[in-house]
């Protein structure tokens, strides 16, 4: 409800640059949704790119929009359980500029299982798999993250962390966290 209202209003009152970004995002969304459908039909396995903690933080600060980062693994039952809710929310907010970064904590030789699971969820966005030492990766991403999976971090477009939790979440929780990040990304203008 709020998401729809905020998104509609943002479309009305956003600066030209924001509108262009939103339009570009909408085009990307259309392309992505079409690809999603094709992926679901064909069982296409998405790209899984190795990524370090600092690279994640660089991406979330690039100003392209709010970002939802989810750390998961094929062996983690709560991670698999929450994935449909997470994807529902992420897809619903693509046109608000939300970027989804799914980062697998599986071992490299589990990549086939990672791809199978992502394909089963009709994920066709580029996704990631963590690289390097666990201790450095965990501390590099967020000092309050204990290493427990799943873990979710939500950033606004400036790369500021607006939400963080460990453990599985439901759609409601993802939705509220994402809305908060998007709201921070597009602060209201003062009446003239």
């Amino acid at each position: 409800m709020c998401a729809g209202l905020a998104a509609a209003l943002l479309g009305c009152a956003g600066a030209p640059a924001e509108r262009e970004t939103a339009e570009a995002s909408a085009e990307a969304l259309d392309a992505s949704l079409a690809a999603d459908s094709a992926a679901a039909a064909s069982g296409y396995a998405p790209a899984v790119v190795p990524i370090a903690a600092e690279q994640i933080l660089q991406k979330v600060k690039d100003g392209r929009g709010a970002t939802l980062v989810n750390l998961w693994a094929t062996w983690c039952a709560p991670c698999r359980h929450e994935m449909p809710a997470l994807l529902t929310v992420a897809r619903a907010h693509r046109e608000d500029g939300l970027r989804l970064m799914l980062v697998s904590a599986d071992f490299d030789d589990q990549l086939p299982a990672v791809r199978r699971f992502l394909a089963s969820q009709a994920v066709n966005e580029t996704t990631y798999i963590k690289t390097g030492d666990d201790n450095a990766f965990i501390n590099g991403l967020h000092r309050d993250w204990s290493g427990a999976l799943p873990a979710t971090l939500v950033f606004d477009a400036s790369g500021r962390l607006t939400g963080f939790w460990e453990g599985a979440a439901d759609e409601n929780r993802f939705e509220h966290a994402v809305i908060a990040a998007i709201a921070e990304t597009h602060p209201p203008e003062e009446p003239r």
Partner: protein, 224 residues
């Protein structure tokens, strides 16, 4: 024209303000905000909390951390049966725990998971696992998950080592490679246990590793 534009702009801005305020309000009410969910674990130098709480061990006895404490220190490991990462480290936990006992360090392995989520974490499978691994130390049930909460333990496995004075001197992972024991470069927990056993200072006091979230019992959950 200009007046209409002014009215529309003002209205849009007001609506936007309301919309964003509502969104923030909703977000603040959500359990997903950072303030509500960051779990602070026990700080280095702290004493063990809830030392008097009795927990049922796999041999049927009631064990408290106070009762289990050794003259040289106490090792508390939050672990469980079901977690793949706990399984990968379980033989090392058994070996380190058994050796620690021999060195005058009391050892308690605690399962704080809600078995409703994972039947593998029921009492009977815990008994089987302890026997299989040759635990010489208690493997106990944290029946309300309150001990895990008091420690700020969030994952399995997660170790807390206290010295002879009862102060936390190590908190974290077993070592730096769950999967391949032969490829381990940093034996953090083993090194810390050795240091405590000989009255020396611990070199690396805090480490992290990936692991499973502790599934707190329903009446005591912090996360969904």
């Amino acid at each position: 024209m200009n007046r209409n534009f002014f009215v529309r702009s003002t209205l849009a801005a007001l609506l936007l303000t309301v919309g964003v305020a509502l969104a923030k309000d909703q977000a603040a009410k959500s359990a997903g905000t950072a303030k509500e969910v960051v779990v602070k674990s026990l700080a280095i130098g702290s004493p063990a909390p809830m030392r008097g709480v009795k927990m049922k061990s796999v041999d049927g006895t009631e064990v408290s951390l106070e009762k289990a404490a050794g003259k040289n220190g106490t090792l508390v490991v939050f672990t469980c049966n079901h977690c793949p990462w706990a399984k990968m480290w379980q033989t090392r936990v058994a070996a380190i725990g058994n050796a620690a006992l021999e060195s005058g360090i009391g050892v308690v392995a605690i399962n704080s998971n809600d078995p409703a989520d994972y039947p593998e974490d029921e009492y009977a499978p815990m008994q089987e696992r302890a026997k299989l691994l040759g635990f010489k130390f208690p493997y106990v049930v944290d029946a309300t998950s309150s001990v895990a909460k008091a420690f700020g333990a969030t994952r399995t496995p997660e170790a807390f080592l206290f010295d002879a004075k009862g102060k936390l001197v190590y908190h974290g992972a077993v070592d730096d490679n769950a999967r391949e024991e032969a490829a381990v470069k940093e034996k953090w927990l083993n090194d810390a246990v050795q240091a405590v056993a000989t009255g020396k200072g611990v070199t690396v006091a805090e480490t992290k590793a990936l692991g499973c979230t502790i599934k707190y019992r329903e009446s005591n959950k912090k996360t969904s």
